[in-house]
Subunit: 471 residues, 2 copies
Amino acid sequence: MHVIILAGGSGSRLWPISREFYPKQLLKLTDNTSLLQATFERISSFVEPSKIILSTNVELAANVKIQLNKKVIEENVLSEPVSKDTAPAIACSMKFVEKLAKNNDEIVLVVPSDHIIKNISKFADCMKNAENLAKKGYIVTFGVPPVIADTGYGYIETIEDKDVEKINNKAFKVKQFTEKPDKKLAEDYIKSGSHFWNSGMFMFKISTFKEQMSKYMPEIESVLSEIDFDKTTDIPFMSYDKMPNISIDYALMEKSDNIVMLPLESDWKDLGSWEAIYDVKEKDTHGNAIAGKVIAKKCKNSLIFGNSKLVSAIGVNNLVVVETSDAVLVCDKNKTHEVKDVYNDLKKTNNDLYMVHKTVYRPWGYYKCIEQGEGFLTKIIHLSPRQQLSYQMHNHRSEHWVVLSGKAKILLEDKEYVLNPGQSIDIPLKAKHSLQNPFFDDLEIIEVQLGDKLIEEDIIRFKDIYGRENK
Amino acid sequence: MHVIILAGGSGSRLWPISREFYPKQLLKLTDNTSLLQATFERISSFVEPSKIILSTNVELAANVKIQLNKKVIEENVLSEPVSKDTAPAIACSMKFVEKLAKNNDEIVLVVPSDHIIKNISKFADCMKNAENLAKKGYIVTFGVPPVIADTGYGYIETIEDKDVEKINNKAFKVKQFTEKPDKKLAEDYIKSGSHFWNSGMFMFKISTFKEQMSKYMPEIESVLSEIDFDKTTDIPFMSYDKMPNISIDYALMEKSDNIVMLPLESDWKDLGSWEAIYDVKEKDTHGNAIAGKVIAKKCKNSLIFGNSKLVSAIGVNNLVVVETSDAVLVCDKNKTHEVKDVYNDLKKTNNDLYMVHKTVYRPWGYYKCIEQGEGFLTKIIHLSPRQQLSYQMHNHRSEHWVVLSGKAKILLEDKEYVLNPGQSIDIPLKAKHSLQNPFFDDLEIIEVQLGDKLIEEDIIRFKDIYGRENK
């Protein structure tokens, strides 16, 4: 079995902790493990790493690789050059799997990376069980027996079917997929006994997927034929950009009549809102889930996260307060599904707050804007061992670097300098320079930029003295 | 008439906007004028500046002078060397007034600096009216006819008195002062018709105050005899520290039987809580008072202040949200009187958040800590024209300065350097140095401190090459 882990989602629903470039799957919501890391661990308990494919996008790939450090096969991390919905991402990943698989009878499991599943052995058993159905040519989905009338999930409606039961007496034929219902409808679903929460996972033979793609997604199939993973591991932008922006649910699941469902009984949760996070958190005797620098007085049934500065809450009830270094959310706990509206507002107005945190993670380390004023911008730059920034120059700013920790190798107009903590260097306007850390410890510097136009785009990159060009 | 403006109060009730070193009177709560500035303007409409005395403390004096720039007579700003309650502060100020006054029959008005009074001409009329009573030897207080049963104010209970009425037919004899009442009691007060809000202002002859001090505050009187304002304009610490820490209300007002009250009908308000601030602010159609970077959706009857970063509020009702660069307050609007408990908690645990803002104002300018990490601390230092920092050295840190704007004169081991924007200098461990701005423009630098002990106390001050020692 091969597994495709979908790790390209954006981060609107748990804003301001999640961002477009730091979405839910990267967050450590319940313990010191991110949802992505937990997903990878869960999958690798029954599939070897060489058979696990990560489908993500160029903006997230660095963080995905950092979080799965040394566990994931780096070549198996596929990056969309531009973000599309799940159908193109899965189709591309399937083409990549074809290359790895012995033949088209092999089974593939597709799973999201941002769900919580507690009972791993039950999960693995269920997947094994599903293989028989997939081998018979079905698309197998996994439905969670609903515990409450949750309006945050989509539902799968099932009907009994003798043919399916013959193969697997636990399985149902899928009648239809439904959108997130309102409260009344969700209650009807629960009573019906035939509705399950849609876990968003599915399994099929490679050949089944190809047949179904021909039938229901011919426009994806035709673009896909341009991509040849024998020649490149990057997905070419020109082809991928032609793909329709459509989810696998709309493109395939809601159309195919070849779908069955197995119940998944392994404590599954999709933490899709701050209310859902509150529900799984440990609470004090007043029903408060509190973390970080918080002073709470006379509060009840509230979620309060202080992240970068002190949050003081007095006499509040049923509230969500989430603070990060550049934004604060204060939200009625029953209205946390509207957080995505704020996210979308920010996106529409090009406010970076939807996209990145104050700390921006890059393949070489991270940087953080700590202060900005008229004519200056101050950053902390963290360069991991054996990493370097490109050989570059700026037309509108001089830079000034002070080493805080570690050791910096600096290339300035083709001369080399090595600086220790407390030492500094001026990078004049238009001088070619590169910051490098060829050493074994992390390097941290403070950069002060001075100039009339302090934007990321003011950068001209050169090949360095070794002929390499880096980002 | 002389006027003493009490401007030494701490800032617990409007935390996190107010702090111990940046209390309510310095805040610009309703327009671009601080309460202190408005008070000074109000008073100077009928009293000349040379007769206005500011009573504050050493920590606030710089800000008081900055806010009253060029209007206040600098010698008339008296600073408590250590904060005591109002009785010692007023007694000291009275001794200072004695020096200015022609004789002890002169009248003195004492007013807080953090109240709002809209109708200045009615206020001035009332003060004139009060002079007659004060000349007859009464302590005159000013009671505001209560509009609602407010539990945030102290009340003055009056009785009619023929002798008092003969001098001024609007005046009442004071029966007693009462503490802030609960709701029930406040409602009884309103019904009685004999209760007024205590405006905290009073007026008396110098001789009346001296008599009353002898009678009711002999321990203050005896310490006061040690202070001689002919010899010094500073209040000596050794004497002042011996004064009891007691308010003028406890020490005198509640004991004296010589007190009368005049009604003050000039739209008086003491904005003593965030709820009170909400009440005076302009609201949108949903009853929200919103300022700063805020996205509010489906909110009602709430006060939302975003100061340094985005505040997003969804579906909240009757809430106060106040954000500053180092703290966030989220509080039920009916519980804002409990904000002082958070302030006191912070004070008890020596958390600087009760005391100062991230930006700390000093007589020479201000500084702001922008980032702190292991072994380093980064500040922006703003030095006003013609100002300088002391000639100093540090045992535990090196410093690194980058000029952002203006021009810096730097003294380093008795050598002089002049630096322009973008230029920088290293201050090694234990090197004597001074940052100076002898020029006409503001100077702004970034300071990076590196060392094992980054505390304000690691400083040894020297006389500079001109023999001066500065703070």
